[in-house]
């Protein structure tokens, strides 16, 4: 029979990844719950998944494409920006959901035991459905503008994986801190608002010129540029930039998980 030992934790938290795997059914239930509840009692339902990036695309196309005439690597600006916004919308949504997830699941955390990292991880999964729905629009636009995806499309899962990894990593940091200081959530809204402009979502990396080295310090730069490249055959960023993005995501995820695990014992008392 299984024996559980309860005692004060000392020193560096153990990650206990096996336990997370043991609770995979609960994890799936929570993801399923978030998906089901997401668009309940809304009029247009899952159309929201499309409306968000689509509206942003229309606005940006008008202001940046038409008025400011920002270059777009020689391809029509609407599809250029949409290919970036699609992944960015997933990323910022996932970061936001994950960061508020521990506080919004206070009812569970103060009443039931389960490995806590499940909560922010589950929160980052819901957006993948929205991503899939919004992808349909991109495919429609590709047909309209006569684009064929490159062979590199096979790397899409890898790009999604690192986007997810980074969002979950940031989610660990912010969701745990948010339990102690609630204004983290407000700060985060602010960060995400600015971060999109620091990322080549609505402009190509090529316009950065001499400042390119600053822009590529942003881990999302390589990911967004590649995401656009595999669909629209725009220039692929250097491999070095991609490896940097991947390593960045891995480091944020692992440090975030350790940080989360070290704060998690205080959740029930502080929430």
């Amino acid at each position: 029979m299984e024996t559980i030992i309860i005692k004060p934790q000392k020193g560096l938290a153990s990650l206990n990844l096996l336990e997370i795997i043991k609770y995979r059914e609960l994890f799936l239930s929570l993801v399923l719950r978030d998906i089901k509840v997401r668009y309940k009692q809304t009029i247009v339902g899952s159309l929201w998944a499309i409306i968000q990036p689509l509206t942003a695309m229309v606005l940006f196309s008008f202001f940046f494409g038409k008025i400011a005439k920002i270059p777009s690597d020689g391809i029509p600006y609407p599809i250029f920006s949409y290919a970036g916004l699609l992944l960015w919308t997933y990323f910022s949504g996932a970061v936001n959901m994950a960061s508020g997830s521990v506080a919004s699941n206070a009812g569970l955390i103060t009443k039931v035991y389960f490995p806590r990292p499940i909560i922010p991880i589950a929160a980052t999964m819901v957006g993948l459905i929205d991503y899939a729905i919004a992808l349909i629009i991109l495919i429609g636009m590709m047909i309209f503008y006569k684009f064929t995806p490159t062979i590199n499309i096979i790397f899409l899962p890898i790009l999604l994986f690192f986007t997810w990894l980074l969002s979950a990593g940031i989610g660990f940091w912010f969701s745990a801190t948010n339990v102690l200081y609630r204004d983290i959530k407000i700060l985060l809204g602010f960060i995400m608002q600015l971060w999109i402009y620091a990322t080549p979502v609505i402009y190509p990396l090529s316009v950065a010129g001499n400042f390119k080295w600053i822009v590529v310090l942003n881990p999302m730069t390589g990911i967004i540029e590649s995401h656009r490249s595999i669909f629209l055959n725009t220039p692929m960023p250097d491999l070095g930039i991609l490896i940097y993005s991947a390593l960045f995501a891995i480091v944020v995820f692992i440090t975030g998980l350790f940080y989360f695990k070290s704060i998690e014992r205080r959740f029930a008392d502080e929430i």
């Binding site: 299984e2 309860i6 089901k36």
Partner: protein
């Protein structure tokens, strides 16, 4: 199931839990930190003087064997909820070690994780998996669960459309069909009307009889004596006694909590139109105690200030039983409607006498409120005092052999009996 009756399933050794209470207001947002930045050096230097350690549990050790039904009893603040939270792994102990054997489920409330937007069916699966059931197990017992709850017709309706009774029944039905070997149950589970409470206790009784181990936390002596064969009695974070139920329950009921609140006070506040200042018990024989003999009358005194001339002010007292049900509510103007007329600024005192030979044996909470009608405005509503009614010291005729009589009140009523025929 194969097990040895002498198996220990819970072994707790020297478990303690410390909370640090800061006398400074806690800084939980950056703006708090910024606006209190000048006090921070002081906070750091004087850390020890301005925060206080509070031990919610002190050196608690006990053992529970396979198949036992154990009650943990104690008054509010005795540490029983903290103990349950530690056993449930929601918060960790500061010291000590606990070993749990087998599959553990803790029920700290009914319907943890229930989501109003989801249907009954979806919530059964969600709640089941939160409580540690696998999808396969829930599938297997789904019909039983729905049947038990009696909500077949509404199983595909979002639970936000359920009546509160249906909601609680469905939520409890999931809990009642858990297959774990060790159940940790909080008293709040026994909420709802008397009939439902009985159903809950029956289910837990059956679980206990089927060889499952049950740890039931409560301040309700009645529920504990119905369910449990052994009891752990907690007070101020320590175990004061453990053993056979009846003996411990008697100790529990007859113990006078000298430290418990017999006086509620609030400071003067002229900015509040009406302000409750004091609530206290005044009984000629029992000055500082809140323990009363069944036949004793109890006087509740209330002092309040009115800082602005106004009409329609009234004071009420609600008496709440330990299971959370309100026994009665009484208002100062019930028989004196002229109290609702214009009241001038000043300091007032009112008192209410509860007759002896009226309340049944048990714990009661005295809730005091001051409100203004038309439009309704609540100035204060406080759970002011706790009182305990115990059997009279010289005779125990109002207590049945197997425990106190049922019910919140125990009036002595006049029966008249005559012989009709031989």
């Amino acid at each position: 199931m194969k097990f040895n009756m002498t198996d220990t399933v819970i072994q707790a050794e020297h478990v303690s839990k410390k909370y640090v209470i800061s006398h400074y207001e806690k800084l939980t947002t950056f703006s708090d930190v910024l606006s209190n930045i000048s006090s921070i050096p002081k906070r750091i230097i004087s850390k020890n003087q301005n925060s206080e350690d509070f031990w919610a549990l002190k050196d608690v050790s006990f053992e529970v064997k396979q198949g036992e039904a154990i009650g943990v009893i104690g008054r509010n603040g005795s540490g029983k909820s903290t103990l349950l939270k530690i056993l449930s792994r929601i918060t960790e102990p500061t010291q000590g070690i606990i070993k749990l054997k087998g599959r553990v489920t803790s029920l700290l409330e009914v319907g943890t994780g229930f989501n109003g937007e989801l249907t009954g069916r979806e919530n059964v699966f969600l709640n089941g998996s939160i409580l540690g059931m696998t999808k396969k197990e829930i599938n297997k017992r789904f019909d039983e669960i729905v049947d038990f709850a009696g909500v077949e017709k509404f199983i595909d309706t979002p639970v936000k459309r359920y009546s509160s009774g249906m909601y609680v029944r469905l939520a409890f039905a999931v809990a009642a069909h858990l297959e774990s070997e060790l159940l940790l149950v909080d008293e709040v589970l026994a909420v709802g009307d008397a009939q439902f409470q009985k159903k809950c206790l029956d289910v837990m009784n059956n679980l206990a009889k089927s060889g499952r181990t049950l740890l039931f936390v409560s301040h309700n002596a009645n529920a504990v004596s119905q369910l449990c064969s052994k009891v752990i009695y907690l007070q101020d974070g320590s175990i004061v006694a453990q053993g056979k139920t009846q003996k411990i329950i008697n100790d529990y009921l007859s113990y006078s909590t000298t430290k418990s609140t017999t006086l509620f006070t609030q400071t003067e506040n002229k900015s509040k139109e009406v302000n409750l200042r004091k609530v206290y018990l005044d009984d000629s024989q029992n000055k500082d105690k809140n323990l009363f003999d069944y036949n004793q009358a109890i006087t509740v005194n209330i002092e309040y200030e009115i800082n602005k001339e106004m009409e329609n002010v009234n004071v009420w007292i609600g008496l709440q039983a330990s299971d959370g049900n309100m026994v009665f509510t009484t208002v100062d103007c019930d028989l004196k409607p002229n109290l609702l007329q214009n009241r001038s600024i000043g300091y007032y005192k009112t008192h209410l006498s509860l007759p002896g030979k009226f309340l049944n044996i048990g714990d009661y909470l005295i809730i005091v409120g001051i409100v203004k009608n038309d439009p309704l405005k609540v100035f204060d509503r406080v759970e002011a005092l706790q009182i305990t009614i115990k059997p009279e010291s010289n005779s125990e005729h109002i207590v049945f052999k197997d425990g106190p009589r049922k019910g919140y009140v125990q009036p002595l009523l006049n029966w008249s009996t005559e012989k009709l025929y031989e």
